[in-house]
């Protein structure tokens, strides 16, 4: 609740976490848990502030309950417990709830003790915090109170506090509430646990009516029927309230937030929350409690454990909701253009549609930063642990209504630059001495203005032509490069595309060869060009291969193409020059004849072995021979085991997963490809790899060249012409047509004080500063990490300039410049107030995915959790208003950090399930490292759209729901988008009319789960759904295949894998559990 509620500031999740923390506080846990245990709880509850009481008891109980190993559980956690929880319904869940519920609602007459809670009057307090209700003020959660941005949930401070208080309080519980903090705290914790559920869940549950259902359904009657619940009759009431909350959540956005946050704690607010909490609790409680108890027992050892357990049952609706945040952002920022001129302002989220006005800083479409207020000193940076990074997408495609960067020509002498640091002319250059010189904003060096560039200054010191020159007024623009910027000081030749097609048995059999050849015939008309009216300058060449390579001479003067076989794969060379790379329009007839014949020529092939290294070498040699840059499109099927350089062996060994040797699976098995990649980069040869494997192909090794040359890897496992053709062809089309630059070098310059230290993405670096990209397309992203090497000043802020020198597809050499200025802050609070969680997650994911190359994945996961905990703990310690340790307090801008981080931790790369192949992991690892923020966001937190709520009358999409099975309704149909896949989940009880409209059949049983596209039906519903599917696909760089998943169908397992808020089969934590865990970590740090 809190969480969600708090709109702005920190979100008070806390409590839930408290649970975690709680553990230690056996007491707390106890309480809740206790709840679990009927008896105890009751009593506690009785105390009214169930919390405290509970806890205490619990604590005490712990002993009792303690027995239950809970602790063990705790540690872990909660996750585990969580799971268990469900199981353990036995727990007296109900009771507990009651407990909680009581508090809130008063409703909980029974416990009424609860009454107490309320009494606290501050029901809020009670809720949220039970804890601290006292703090009533606002409850920690909500940042509400203070706007201290951080909202903190967490309850109260870490266990420690709690414990203390607890210790005492426990008993006092009741008092506690009222009493103040201490008690609260304790309570909190307790509550926390409960709270978690409550707070969060409460609200949420309430809000999201749906979610609850599932859960409730599952577990506790309450959920769905939250209201119904007898026990909590009051609760029901609450629910309403809660509903209110939901509203509030929405509201959160705005004003309410604080209130909300506080809300929970606060009276009114509280009201709702409680309810939710109530509900949530109950259900969960049942399960969770159990666990708790279990946990407790285990944990007992560690006093606190119990609490955690309690937490389990945190109401999912009470914890920060990504959907809520997304919707809030849309509502707040989507309406008006984002103006880049204001330094230090975070842009709208990637999920929000917005218009950008370039006023001197690069559009967020080009650059997104993790933080828009950088700490002035490295100490601060270290303390906060917030990564300072920028995610740069230099050639990003802009929406049609935004101008692509202007091209500036500074004449023969080339772009004007600072003499010392070589930064390019930009709005941060300060003209002085009447315009005769300019001072560099990066290094402060003063440089003469060349005569041809001289211009007078106006009274404000600005050049008179400031607004006529893009380089003086805009954040992004391009310079025409002179010959000095070209390789070998030679104007580059137009680039070339070379298609290298595997024609071994598998490739022919699965239809790939025929499809590629067929498609290329049309695709060749769509080669990238800058001016759509003229023919593309790009030349093309074709080769096929199995164990040997076949080059084709398609010279225009030939009547028939000629095939040249090169069997000397040990020492690759290009057999022909003239006739291999040709202009499409001139050689069209010959090319078509070739593409017609290739499938037939190899139709009867028996050759199953392939080579791979020589294939790339061949393309590379061809480009070398033609002295141009270019791109290789390699269509490949199998592990290259034929005798040749770069030969690989099958090293798939799942036994290594989870061991220290696991990292070796991500590393290439031979160094050959790394060396080859280096050569490719030197020549400007970018490699795009399309894989069609039906067994292990060692993506980790094959992908080395593509990922080092700015290329992409596409993988179509078990490719079948019929079902995968569409996806492959769309990818191919997009890949061929997309805007691309070659032979690129990117350099990021920064103002004194920070410097770019690390880079992530698909490129090669031969030194520490220049990012070399053989090819750079509009979807490729480079993430740059910055470190302090000196102090920054608040006045000047920090500047960065990203310059990308590249050859355009027409062969023009250009420099694209993106400038970015951010604020510097001396207060940590500013940092936390102006950062972007999506970008941080993008950075973390890339960072972690690179770490797995050298570290055991478990260590990587742990360090991620740790860093995240440090970030949040730092906030809590330095920015949040004092509150009980049991509360989890999150900065408003980072309240989604835990949920997203959990998604990263659960991703297949870091935490694979048994059915995830090594290839898939390597593939995803490579894929993510070049993703931009929008893609990484949806990749880690898929978009789940309730299709059945679609309003066909208007253009807007229904509000997405959270990725949890609880939120699915049996009667609904949902569309889930991951950036790589689309699923259409059909509930078993979906309305017949809906089915009829979408699938053309009213019967659930008749829906063909093999369909890959929706039938085209003439009704608005069908049309609209298909439109949505198409629009989703259009947003992503890769085509998403649509899979229809029927509830209870075997495919559902795959689908569920993407419900990232739930725990998964391979042991990934649920959101709630993870939040608890995170809370515990934070508390440990703080204590």
């Amino acid at each position: 609740m809190n969480v969600n509620q708090q709109p702005h500031m920190a979100s008070p999740y806390g409590q839930p976490q408290p649970g975690y923390q709680g553990y230690p506080q056996s007491g707390y846990g106890g309480q809740h848990v206790p709840g679990g245990y009927p008896a105890p709880y009751a009593p506690y509850n009785g105390p009214a502030s169930a919390y405290q009481p509970g806890p205490p008891q619990g604590m005490r109980g712990p002993p009792t309950s303690g027995a239950p190993p809970v602790s063990a559980a705790q540690a872990y956690s909660q996750f585990g417990q969580g799971d268990i929880q469900n199981g353990p319904p036995p727990l007296g869940a109900p009771p507990q709830r009651s407990v909680f519920s009581q508090p809130f609602p008063t409703a909980a007459p029974p416990f009424s003790a609860p009454g107490p809670t309320q009494p606290p009057g501050p029901p809020l307090a009670s809720q949220q915090t039970f804890p601290q209700a006292p703090p009533p003020s606002q409850p920690p959660f909500s940042s509400a109170p203070p706007q201290v941005p951080p909202a903190s949930y967490g309850g109260p401070p870490p266990p420690v506090q709690a414990s203390h208080p607890r210790a005492a309080p426990p008993t006092s519980q009741p008092a506690a509430f009222p009493g103040g903090p201490p008690p609260t705290s304790t309570p909190t914790q307790y509550t926390g646990p409960p709270m978690q559920q409550p707070p969060v869940s409460q609200p949420s549950s309430f809000h999201s009516g749906p979610p609850p259902p599932p859960t409730s359904a599952a577990g506790f009657p309450p959920q769905g029927g939250a209201p119904p619940r007898p026990p909590h009759p009051g609760i029901q009431g609450p629910p309403l309230a809660s509903q209110g909350p939901p509203m509030s959540q929405a509201n959160h956005v705005a004003p309410p937030q604080p209130g909300m946050l506080a809300g929970p704690p606060v009276p009114g607010m509280a009201g709702p929350p409680p309810q939710p909490g109530m509900q949530g609790y109950p259900p969960q409680q049942n399960g969770e409690y159990c666990r708790y108890s279990c946990c407790l027992s285990g944990s007992q050892a560690s006093d606190i454990p119990p609490v955690q357990k309690t937490r389990h049952r945190i109401d999912p609706d009470a914890i920060p909701s990504p959907i809520q945040v997304i919707e809030d952002d849309k509502a707040n920022k989507g309406s008006e253009p984002f103006v880049t001129g204001v330094r230090g302002q975070a842009p709208p989220l990637v999920t929000t549609n917005f218009h950008v006005k370039d006023q001197g800083n690069a559009s967020p479409r080009f650059i997104r930063c993790t933080a828009y207020n950088i700490p002035c000193t490295s100490d601060m940076a270290k303390q906060s642990q917030v990564p300072l990074a920028a995610v740069i997408k230099p050639l990003a495609t802009l929406p049609p209504d935004e101008n692509s960067p202007y091209i500036v020509d500074h004449g023969e002498s080339g772009p004007i630059r600072c003499n010392r640091c070589k930064a390019y002319m930009c709005p941060y250059m300060q003209f002085i001495e009447g315009g005769r010189r300019f001072q560099c904003g990066f290094c402060s060096c003063v440089t003469e203005v060349p005569p041809h560039y001289f211009q007078h200054l106006d009274h404000t010191g600005k050049r008179v032509d400031c607004y006529d020159r893009p380089e003086l007024s805009l954040g992004s623009y391009e310079f025409l490069a002179t010959v000095d910027y070209c390789k070998n000081n030679k104007i580059p030749q137009p680039p070339a595309f070379i298609f290298l097609i595997d024609v071994s048995y598998n490739a022919v059999k699965n239809g790939m060869v025929r499809i590629v050849c067929q498609e290329l015939k049309t695709l060749l008309d769509y080669l990238p060009r800058e001016n759509p009216d003229v023919q593309s300058n790009i030349r093309v060449g074709f080769a096929t291969y199995n164990k040997v390579l076949h080059f084709y001479n398609v010279k225009a003067s030939l009547a028939q193409p000629q095939m040249m076989v090169v069997s000397d794969v040990a020492d690759m060379f290009v057999p022909l020059l003239d006739g291999f790379l040709v202009n499409v329009s001139e050689s069209r007839v010959v090319i078509e004849s070739l593409l017609d014949q290739i499938p037939d020529m190899f139709a009867d092939t028996r050759e199953t072995e392939t080579v791979f290294g020589p294939v790339i070498q061949a393309g590379l040699e061809a480009l070398k021979a033609a002295d141009c840059a270019g791109k290789l499109f390699v269509f490949h099927t199998s592990l290259p085991i034929a005798e040749a350089p770069g030969k690989l062996k099958n090293r798939e060994d799942k036994k290594l997963v989870g061991t220290d040797k696991e990292k070796s699976l991500f590393q290439p098995q031979v160094s050959f490809y790394a060396n080859l990649a280096k050569e490719c980069v030197a020549q400007g040869c970018c490699v795009d790899l399309f894989l069609f494997p039906n067994q292990y192909v060692d993506v980790a090794t094959l992908g080395v060249v593509p990922t080092s040359t700015g290329g992409s890897v596409y993988k179509y496992t078990y490719f079948q012409a019929q079902s995968d053709q569409e996806r492959f062809l769309n990818d191919l089309r997009k890949d061929i047509q997309k805007k691309v630059g070659f032979d690129a070098v990117m350099r990021v310059r920064t103002s004194t004080g920070i410097r770019a230290t690390d880079f992530f993405g698909s490129f090669y670096m031969s030194n520490t500063t220049d990012v070399e990209l053989a090819g750079l397309d509009c979807d490729k992203t480079v993430t740059v990490e910055f470190r302090h090497d000196d102090k920054l000043s608040e006045e000047t802020g920090a500047l960065m300039q990203c310059a990308v020198l590249y050859t355009s597809c027409s062969g023009q050499r250009r420099l694209r410049i993106h400038n970015m200025a951010v604020n510097c802050c001396a207060q940590l609070a500013d940092l936390y107030r102006n950062c972007e969680t999506d970008t941080i997650i993008n950075f973390f994911a890339k960072y972690a995915y690179r770490c797995v190359l050298n570290n055991p994945t478990k260590n990587v996961r742990d360090s991620l959790v740790n860093q995240c905990a440090q970030i949040l703990a730092c906030y809590r310690k330095n920015c949040a208003s004092p509150s009980s340790a049991g509360q989890l307090i999150l900065p408003e801008c980072m309240k989604l950090l835990p949920v997203y981080l959990n998604c990263v931790l659960k991703s297949d790369v870091l935490h694979p399930g048994a059915d995830v192949s090594l290839d898939d992991r390597a593939y995803l690892r490579q894929l993510v490292s070049a993703m931009d923020v929008a893609e990484s966001h949806v990749f880690f937190y898929p978009r789940l759209l309730p299709v059945h709520k679609l309003d066909v009358e208007c253009d807007t999409l229904p509000v997405a729901i959270r990725d949890s099975e609880e939120r699915l309704s049996k009667g609904g149909i949902y569309l889930l988008e991951t950036g790589l896949n689309l699923f259409l989940w059909v509930g078993a009880n979906a309305q017949q009319e809906l089915l009829q409209n979408i699938f053309g059949t009213p019967a659930f049983g008749q829906i063909d789960s093999n369909m890959t596209s929706l039938p085209i039906l003439d009704n608005p519903y069908s049309k609209r759904v298909r439109e949505i599917v198409e629009s989703f696909r259009a947003q992503r760089s890769r085509y998403m295949k649509l899979m229809v998943v029927k509830q209870e169908d075997k495919l559902e397992l795959i689908f569920k894998h993407f419900l990232v808020e739930d725990k998964n089969n391979s042991g990934g934590a649920s959101y709630v559990d993870f939040l608890c865990h995170m809370h515990k970590e934070i508390r440990q740090l703080l204590s």
């Binding site: 028939q560 000629q562 040249m564 076989v565 069997s567 000397d568 020492d571 070739l594 092939t605």
Partner: protein, 733 residues
Amino acid sequence: MATYQDFIQQNEDRDGVRCSWNLWPSSRLEATRLVVPVSCLFTPLKERPDLPPVQYEPVLCSRASCKAVLNPLCQVDFRAKIWACNFCFQRNPFPPSYAGISEVNQPAELMPQFSTIEYIVQRGPPTPLVFLYVVDTCLEEEDLQALRESLQMSLSLLPPNALVGLITFGRMIQVHELSCEGIAKSYVFRGTKELTPKQIQEMLGLMKPAASGQQGRPLAPQDAATSCRFLQPVHKVDMNLTDLLGELQRDPWPVPQGKRPLRSTGIALSIAVGLLEGTFPNTGARVMLFMGGPPTQGPGMVVGDELKTPIRSWHDIQKDNARHMKKAIKYYEALANRAAVNGHSIDIYAFALDQTGLLEMKCLSNLTGGHIVMGDSFNTSLFKQTFQRVFSKDYNGEFHMAFGGVLEVKTSRELKVAGAIGPCVCTARPELGVGGTCQWKICSLSPSTTLALYFEVVNQHNSPIPQGGRGAIQFVTQYQHSNTQRRIRVTTIARNWADAQSQIQHIESSFDQEAAAVLMARLGVFRAESEEGPDVLRWLDRQLIRLFMFHLRRSPFLQVFNNSPDESSYYRHHFLCQDLTQSLIMIQPILYSYSFFGPPEPVLLDSSSILPDRILLMDTFFQLVIYHGETIAQWRKAGYQDMPEYENFKQLLQAPLDDAQEILQTRFPMPRYIDTEHGGSQARFLLSKVNPSQTHNNLYAWGQEAGAPILTDDVSLQVFMDHLKKLAVSSSA
């Protein structure tokens, strides 16, 4: 008995053998004293229209070390059905199939007129002939065009079942696959990397039938052979190949200013050899190399691609400045030996204005019996007609070529084979003992292919041979006829032994001057190939005293002045494989004179023969020069031949042309045909050959009727003879 002249002629006609001595000195010592060794020129496939081959197997001596073939010189006991080998004296029973023989019913091989007899034998399945074209594409467009046309034309001359293959090369080497429909396929190799035969075969997919994508069904061995995608029957791929040749492009790799095109001749040949080795070992096959310049890269390169470095000259070679020569020679020799082992021959058609590296590559043809033809451009009749003539047919409509010949020479015990000089490789050293034999492999034979065989008399002085004894030599040539039959030709000759002391006059009169000249010349040329020029001349001077030696000394076979290394190699190659008549022409060119004063007559090869009112026709084997004397030339210019009243002049002009045409018809390779006149620049071909009896040094002839003075410091025959006489006298003194 007829004169020796007749005897010699008769023997040559019947057996294709010319011996230096037709009576043999009976001891080693005496033989050595004769200076000119006991030796003979043997033409294995001498055309014998009157010799019908017999269709059975020869009867062999049963002694394992002898295996001589039953011949007319054997003693036969018709009653016991036993014959005695005349080489080892082993008594052998006749095989059962000879049960019916008697004195009146003798098999052909016992009849004296069948001292040369040819057997057709069945040895395995007939294998088609294989022609593998190896074509240089670094040619000027017009040369390439001419070459394309010639190659296309040649397809129609091949027997329909012959297998044909195509390899083209420039910077890269392409082995063209001929069996495919649609897209033309070729396998490409880089020209700088030496590959082992195994690698080549692997890369061409020749190793395992399954690997070559042939539907994986196991192939019978013959199938494997015929299924080779690179060598296909002409009748199947005629159209394909014609198109392919028609589309043959010039090497597409750009040649920068100041560079030679990169030609990977060495690797192209090694691939050709490797291909045949892997598919058709021990089957008649010709690799025909067409090149328009020197190899410039990879193993076997003769010169680098920098134009500023000229190709090696004799001067460089003498100074040991020819960087690539030794390595290249070694490389090509190794290749030649591999080809020879498998019975494949390599022809070289080198047409370029500059040298092309024949010096280095000559062994390819020398060791495998291949042709070498050299000229200035493929776009000349010299090439076109010569190439056409390769495929000329005999009266039976069969090619004048045979393949995979193995020549075995057996001698009576008093003789030993010392060696052979000719287009062959030795495959078995002489075995000592009774009926010593020796084997050579001659990968390609034509009816004129002639080997020089040298013998030693091993009989010691103190063991005289009884009066009337005869020494015998048997030549057994197994070969694949161009109609794919396997044949064995057996020639058995015998000469009387003579005691040198008592019968020196007889021996002297049995001397065959012409044969001896050619035999000695071959020895000389052979030495010249391996030794320093002056040494050879000196050796020759010591050994020889005969007239023609004057011309031999001046000939390009020994004299390298004014000839490039390639030219020398070329001339020598032909000298070492032509028959006696042609060899004599090469040594001492023939000069005919045409005039109004009588029928054409041979005249002295002397500057005094060059007269204004004569037309001269000189045949040097390599050149055919028609020279119009000063007056004749003026008349011709004035157009008298077109006037009806000067019909006789027209005829006079026509006469040498007709004669030349006749020579051109039969000569292989086509000689360079030169039609010139007094004062013409091309007259140098004539002037350089004639004996310079009048030079600017003996001006007395100026303005007088006798001939034309030659501007040279060379000694004239007169001076040479005078000197020789002096030497002869002084040395005898």
